[in-house]
Symmetry: C2
C-alpha cells in the first residue's frame, strides 16, 4: 500500500540563553530571504523529529543541544508560501552562552533580546511567544 501525500514536515528550534535572548539566523535563501528566523528545516525520512531538530541546529548554528521540550505543532496551510508545511517546534535552554556561528542556509546567527521588534519569517514570532510561556512554566517548577 502506498502512502498518501501529506503536508511536508519541518522542525524549528527556539533556543534561549540564560539571559532570555533567543538564537535567530538570517535566512540565506527564500522564502523570507534575509529575514530573521528560527534555525530549522525539513525532516528526513528515517529520522525522529528530535534528531532532525538537533541536526538542523548543528548544521545552521554549530550548537549541540541538550534536552528538547515540545512547544507545539504549527500547521496553518498558509504559513509557508512554498506550499503546506507543518512545523514541530522544540524549546532548548542554553545553560552557558555559546557564541553561535552561521552555517548552512544561514547568513548570520545572533542571540537577540528584542525579537518582538524584528520582522520574523513564517509564523516564528508566534512560535517564540509560545516557547517563552513554556520556558517560564518550566523555570517556575
Amino acid at each position: 500500500m502506498g502512502m498518501p501525500k501529506t503536508p511536508a514536515l519541518t522542525t524549528d528550534c527556539v533556543i534561549f540563553d540564560n539571559t532570555g535572548r533567543v538564537l535567530l539566523i538570517r535566512r540565506k535563501n527564500g522564502p523570507f530571504k534575509d529575514s530573521y528566523a528560527l534555525p530549522g528545516g525539513f525532516v528526513d525520512i528515517g529520522e525522529t523529529l528530535e534528531a532532525a531538530c538537533r541536526r538542523e541546529v548543528h548544521e545552521e548554528v554549530g550548537i549541540e543541544l541538550g534536552d528538547l521540550s515540545l512547544v507545539g505543532v504549527y500547521s496553518d496551510p498558509k504559513r509557508d508560501p512554498r506550499g503546506h508545511t507543518v512545523s514541530v517546534a522544540y524549546l532548548a535552554l542554553l545553560s552557558l552562552v555559546v557564541p553561535p556561528r552561521a552555517g548552512s542556509d544561514a547568513e548570520g546567527a545572533e542571540l537577540i533580546k528584542d525579537w518582538r521588534k524584528l520582522s520574523l519569517a513564517f509564523d516564528h514570532a508566534m512560535i517564540i511567544g509560545d516557547a517563552e510561556r513554556l520556558a517560564a512554566r518550566q523555570l517556575a517548577r
Copy 2:
C-alpha cells in the same frame, strides 16, 4: 522550488470519557488489522492538524470533538510497518457519554477501561499513557 520528501503525517486522538474509559476502534484494514487502535489517520494537504484530527474522529466514530490538547509527536521511523509516519496526537475529554458508532476504517468502536490489557496497534499504548498523564495534570488545575 519543489518540496523535499518528508515522513508521512498522521494524527491520532485519545478520547477519554468522564469515567476514564478510552475510545478505541478495531482496525478494518492492515497494518494491525483487527487490533484495537486510536481513531486517526493521514493528514490532508490544506488542512490543519486539529482539523484532520476532528475529521478522522468524525469519520471513524461519529463524534464531534470539543477542545483538543496536544499530547505529543511520535516519530520513531519504525513505528509503522508501511514506512515512516509521524503522528501528532491530541487529547479530547468527553463531558457526556456518547455511544460511539463505527464508521470508515473501523470494525467497531468501544469505550474501554482496561486498555492496558489489550494489544494495541502501532505505539498507541505509549500515546494513551502520555495522554492519561496530560489529562491528570489538566484535571488537577
